[in-house]
Amino acid sequence: MSATLRVRVWRGGAEGAFREYEVPRHESQTVLDVVTHVQRHLDPTLAYRYACRVGMCGSCAMTVNGAPRWTCRTHVDKVAKEGRLEISPLRNLPVIRDLVTDMREFFDKWARAKGQFRGERRRSDDFARVSPQSEKRRLADVAIECIGCAVCYSACDVVAWNPGYLGPAALNRAWTLVNDERDTQQAARLRAVAGDAGCLSCHTHMSCTDRCPKALSPTAGIAGLKRAVAAAALRGEL
């Protein structure tokens, strides 16, 4: 282990450049530790975003040596080839400054994909009973742990090619609700996720699945949405 790391950090907005820093190397050091060192000891004007530091909030995602990652859960010794790191903001999102991206479009797409739950029961009604063993509940279970970090969205080539594309996270969210027996806007949701900006545009590159820090498979959910949309179209319900 060398004593220092050579770290190139993106500075500026959409137009900007990498600036190089030397950061002391430590045992069990994470990439977030490195960014924090730069901001606290070398350049206080560096803008970056984090909150929990333990892989729960999903706010510290950045591009590290070319791949989107949670910086808090990425150990330097796993990614720093020959003591070098290159840290830039997430791809496919507008850069506000340095390592901070504007997440509005990402979350607006969740809303556009009908990512909101809408049930029909009221507070006075009894609980809905959904069997944990039912197929739909199990399908929802494997997709429901998403925390909205946008790593998959940043990894997705289709988002880069088609800016209107809803993206893996929004479609994954829609898939959990398609499998929610209590939800009442199923037909509207399938219409929302079909079309040029929806699930049918996915090329199954599986970059989202490859990069997801929670080991979810948005690709599998999107494939499920494709089947549901096609079946609805064949039944004349789309």
């Binding site: 088609n162 096609a230 064949l234």
Partner: protein, 112 residues
């Protein structure tokens, strides 16, 4: 294009891909058979002329290509050149007609 239209195109492309997977295998087998047996052009024509099964198979092949290729090209033009909208679809319709014409012309040339 409407959501229903987009979805129908997607289904058409997947269905035509399934047909093409079979057609390409049969087509390759026919080529290998013709080449390994050392058939001459005249011998090939003697087998294909008036052969309804051969004509039907290659007509289906051409139809599947006519459906499949323009829809795939539609995505490529949209994603790589950001060309969307009616002008793209009009050009691709012409491209589909060109494929159908060229394909059927070749099929008829060795059938009739």
């Amino acid at each position: 294009m409407s959501i229903r239209g987009e979805t129908r195109l997607w289904i058409a492309q997947r269905a035509s891909a399934a047909v093409l997977a079979l057609c390409v295998l049969v087509h390759l087998a026919v080529i290998v058979y013709a080449v390994r047996g050392g058939l001459t052009g005249a011998e090939i024509l003697a087998r294909t002329r008036g052969n309804a099964a051969w004509f039907a198979f290659y007509s289906v092949f051409v139809l599947a290509v006519t459906v499949h290729a323009p829809i795939g090209l539609r995505a490529v033009l949209g994603e790589w050149l950001a060309w969307r909208g009616r002008s793209r679809d009009a050009v691709l319709l012409l491209f589909a007609m060109l494929l159908a014409w060229m394909g059927m012309r070749a099929v008829l040339a060795v059938f009739a």
